[in-house]
């Protein structure tokens, strides 16, 4: 049963103005979704303390959080849609596929253990045909590669010896799929004289929330809060390179956990570029960055924008001399985490991705930069440009500066 004690009451503030509907990427491309206003605040009002109403259309919500940003009354629309998802999952159950997709951490562990085989298998047509038929994972959908030398195998620091201390929330993607991003982050921190500790951590819970598994997400939230508070209380800052993870730690935990501890932790959480920008503002940043003559297009992930912190990746990249980076301004990529891996959502995912793919093409930059591994997955599939994490660019600039000395 859902915990009735999560009394999310911000739905009372909804003025029905439709700003969330207008800004909802999914509502813009399909009528199959009932829209954030109806399935968020409106439905919550009709079921709160009353008979539960299950609306299947909630499956089309990607939990991107654009609704939250657009709301003039600060209604936590995506928390309310997550609640509707939890109701739907509780009433209708979840498929084996959704179970697998929502377990990013477990899948990461297993897939990376057999990485070369996994990656090959995911590119074999007969296997993909079977997966589509049996699991509803579209045949044409590309998957991210898994790495045998995952970040857990290569980096094991539990404490930091420097003055500023960073507890790195690596996240499933940088751990199992892109250890190079985690590696770059550690390097960038080293260039700034900050040693990085890796606290015990579980999946942030976003994929579980997106698949209506509220109870699991709550469990992971309380485990992570406990583990990370042990660091923040010793003077650590919690930093994440994945913007979905940082959104979860900063914002979602306040709603789905709601404790004082959740609030205490949230005050110490930073996105990686946001953290670096803070160092710069404090005059602590190593600004010895070598020039780079690249031309890059920046794609802003929805979960980065949902944090309401401006655009720290652009701010940081603009510090690199001669570096030319432009915001693609293309909205949602359409991958939306696990959403784009589902057969019945695939069309919507592709429609959403089209705008982004077109703007990448129009800009004609050398490569694309984005923080989010899932946005990268969609960019990899829909464009022919390489995709990098901003922290990788910064690491390279520092590296070049060091070599130049």
């Amino acid at each position: 049963m859902l915990d009735p004690n999560i009394l999310e009451t911000t739905y009372e503030k909804c003025l029905k103005c439709n700003a969330c509907v207008a800004s909802c990427p999914v509502s813009g491309v399909t009528l199959d979704f009932g829209g954030p206003k109806h399935l968020g605040p409106e439905l919550k009002r009709l079921v709160d303390n009353q008979q539960i109403i299950d609306d299947k259309r909630i499956e089309f919500c990607t939990l991107c959080g654009n609704c939250d940003m657009s709301c003039p009354e600060n209604v936590h629309v995506s928390t309310l849609t997550a609640y509707a998802k939890a109701i739907h999952t509780e009433k209708s159950g979840f498929s084996f596929r959704d179970f697998v997709l929502s377990n990013a951490e477990l899948v990461g562990k297993m897939a990376s253990a057999f990485a070369p085989v996994t990656n090959m298998a995911m590119k074999m047509k007969p296997i993909r045909k079977m997966m589509e038929k049996m699991m509803g994972i579209p045949e044409d959908r590309q998957f991210p590669n898994y790495q045998f030398k995952n970040f857990n195998r290569v980096y094991k620091n539990k404490t930091s010896g420097s003055k500023r201390k960073v507890a790195y929330f690596v996240g499933c993607y940088a751990t199992y799929n892109a250890p190079e991003v985690a590696g770059s982050f550690v390097k960038v921190m080293e260039y700034n004289g900050i040693e990085v500790a890796i606290p015990r951590q579980k999946c942030c819970g976003i994929p579980m929330l997106a698949n209506g598994r509220m109870n699991r997400a709550q469990k992971n939230a309380s485990d992570n809060i406990e583990s990370l508070l042990a660091y923040t209380r010793r003077g650590y800052d919690v930093v994440a390179t994945c913007t979905s993870c940082s959104l979860a730690l900063k914002k979602e935990y306040l709603s789905i956990n709601g404790t004082d501890e959740a609030r205490e932790l949230a005050a110490h959480v930073y996105d990686a570029d946001e953290y670096l920008r803070m160092l710069k503002e404090e005059g602590e940043l190593n600004v010895n960055l070598a020039p780079m003559k690249d031309r890059a297009g920046y794609h802003a992930p929805c979960h980065m924008r949902a944090q309401g912190m401006g655009n720290p990746a652009m701010d940081m990249l603009e510090l690199i001399p001669e570096y030319d980076v432009q915001d693609l301004g293309a909205g949602c990529c359409g991958q939306c985490g696990t959403f784009g891996f589902k057969k019945e959502k695939y069309d919507v995912s592709m429609k959403l991705g089209r705008t982004m793919a077109e703007s990448v093409k129009d800009l004609g930059a050398d490569y694309t930069v984005t923080e989010c591994g899932m946005c990268k997955n969609q960019l990899d599939q829909l464009t022919d440009k390489a995709v990098k994490h901003p922290i990788q660019i910064l690491a390279e600039s520092y590296e070049r500066a060091k070599r130049a000395i």
Partner: protein, 539 residues
């Protein structure tokens, strides 16, 4: 006179008392016409808590009314199930409430036969998370919630089905008397201005707060005290059961869950004018301060509107000293022949929503006596068609929330609405807060007569949600004009009227979100739609 009608009984007042009388008359085979100055429930009958009393509230102060209420509670649950939600109710004793009263109350309920069951405070707090954690004792009683709009509509429809007639938007202009005998009424159609007369053997004055005015037209002295009470609507339903405070009845101590909102009240201030529906901010604040004892977080909750209505309280000391035929202290049935020497004229007043059926029974018993008709009352067993339709609307392509609403609402109109929903346009949600489809709106429109949003609102809940019609009023008016259900002038007028009515109720509670909602509403209508103070523009 442009038109003269004839009947046996004229019932003045389309509140629940009048409607109940009309149905009882029809069931006993007596021809009758009901005359109402506005829409059904223009007055007190739709301006109350919508509480189906278990009798608990009156157990100490008025045992007779308590027994009547409990008895009627059981009958109405069986005979008019579509308008009643068996929510149950709680009486909650707080630390500051008198222990003696609680003991007296328990003893009295036991003596009167009102079933009371004490439940553990922890259980009550679990079920009603907003209840004051300091509650000392909690008792369950068989209170319920009444939808007074559907109650009136359904009771009248049942009467009409049985041969009665209703004339809404008809104002009584005079009572016709001939030699100490009432023989009819003069009425004016307020929409067309047409003057009519109805000749009848008996005229029943069930005009509630307007009863004094009506009696005056017949030259009969009558003193009714109009005791105005204020109520407020919270933006969502936060209690599952009716919540009463276990103390001597006072202001601001009842919370009633009503569909998707909670209604809270009330106050009591005497007023001379029956048309006085004014709202006062200090009165509201006073009431909220009282209510905080039961529900401490009400200050943080959003109020969407307020309204007021007058209880017509009969004062026996007036008139010529005759006390009439007081049925109880609550209701008064006055035979003006016996009381004032005016034959063919009866006044029924006082009473409660919960006891309307009994009031009608007593009134019609007297009518039968006067007409020499031998017929027994059957409203205690004859049922009015229900509203819940089980798993209908399965095939309709609408949001599950809209389907849920229709299944609890459509009643006898279900087949009509279901077939209309096959058309894509009819399945569009017009009012999002309350999930009202165009199909329902069309089904609620009268066959003839002008287009009015108020009537549609009372019959569908259009515009009753938190946005108070900010969006759905203009949608409904525009659709009606587009589909030829209203002329553009009618739609304009209806829209302006509806918006100004909504604004009145919102104004007094307009702080926080509701203040912003009101601004948004005004901006949409004034700026985006270009409405000025008067209707000029087309929808």
């Amino acid at each position: 006179m442009e038109e003269v009608l004839e009947t046996q009984v004229v019932v003045i007042g389309g509140g629940i008392t009048g409607a109940g009388i009309l149905r009882d008359l029809a069931l006993r085979g007596i021809k009758a016409i009901l005359v109402e100055q506005g829409d059904l429930g223009h007055g007190t009958s739709t301006r109350n808590h919508g509480l189906l009393h278990s009798g608990g509230r009156y157990a100490v102060r008025d045992p007779e009314a308590a027994v009547e209420s409990y008895h009627e509670n059981l009958i109405l649950k069986k005979t008019i199930p579509g308008s009643i939600e068996k929510t149950g109710g709680l009486f909650v004793k707080l630390p500051e409430d008198d222990d003696d009263y609680a003991q007296k109350w328990l003893r009295s309920c036991k003596k009167l036969g009102i079933p009371v069951e004490e439940i553990p405070v922890e259980q009550a707090l679990r079920e009603e998370p907003y209840l004051n954690k300091k509650a000392q004792a909690v008792f369950c009683v068989p209170d319920g919630a009444v939808d007074d709009f559907t109650l009136l509509v359904d009771v009248c429809a049942d009467a009409v089905r049985r041969g009665a007639k209703t004339l809404t938007y008809h104002k009584v202009t005079d009572i016709v008397t001939e030699q100490e005998r009432v023989v009819g009424v003069c009425i004016r159609d307020v929409l067309t201005g047409m003057e009519k007369e109805i000749r009848a053997d008996i005229v029943v004055n069930a005009a509630g707060p307007w009863g004094m005015e009506i009696a005056g037209m017949a030259g009969v002295p009558l003193k009714i005290i109009n005791n105005k009470g204020m109520l407020v609507v919270f933006s969502h339903r936060f209690n599952k059961r009716v919540i009463n405070r276990l103390r001597m009845p006072g202001d601001g101590d009842i919370f009633v869950p009503a569909h998707d909102v909670t209604i809270f009240g009330t106050t009591g201030v005497n007023t001379e004018n029956p048309n006085d529906f004014s709202l006062s901010r200090p009165e509201l604040e006073h009431m909220l301060a009282d209510g905080k004892a039961l529900i401490p977080s009400i200050d943080d909750m959003r109020l969407i509107r307020a309204y007021s209505g007058s209880r017509p309280l009969y004062q026996t000391s007036a008139g010529r000293g005759s006390s009439g035929r007081d049925v109880t202290r609550g209701m008064a049935l006055l035979d003006h022949h016996e009381r004032d020497g005016m034959d063919g004229f009866i006044t029924i007043t006082g009473g409660k929503l919960t006891t309307f059926r009994l009031m009608a029974e007593k009134t019609v018993d007297l009518v039968c006596e006067k007409l020499g008709v031998q017929a027994n009352c059957t409203t205690n067993v004859e049922t009015v068609s229900g509203r819940r339709t089980g798993d209908s609307f399965n095939k309709a392509d609408i949001a599950p929330a809209a389907r849920h609403k229709l299944r609890n609402w459509a009643g006898v109109q279900a087949p009509k609405i279901e077939s209309a929903l096959k058309e894509e346009e009819s399945s569009h949600i017009v009012c999002e807060c309350e999930q009202v489809t165009w199909a329902e709106i069309e089904a609620a429109m009268p066959e003839k007569g002008s287009f009015r949003l108020g009537g549609i609102r009372r019959r569908t809940r259009l515009g009753m949600g938190p946005c108070q019609g900010t969006f759905c009023n203009f949608r409904a008016a525009a659709l009606a004009a587009e589909k030829g259900r209203a002329t553009i002038e009618e739609a304009d007028g209806a829209l302006l009227h509806a918006v100004s009515e909504r604004k009145k109720g919102m104004g007094v509670v307009a702080t926080g979100e509701t203040a912003r909602q009101l601004l948004l509403m005004e901006t949409i209508y004034r700026v985006s739609l270009g409405f000025g103070e008067e209707a000029h523009q087309n929808v």
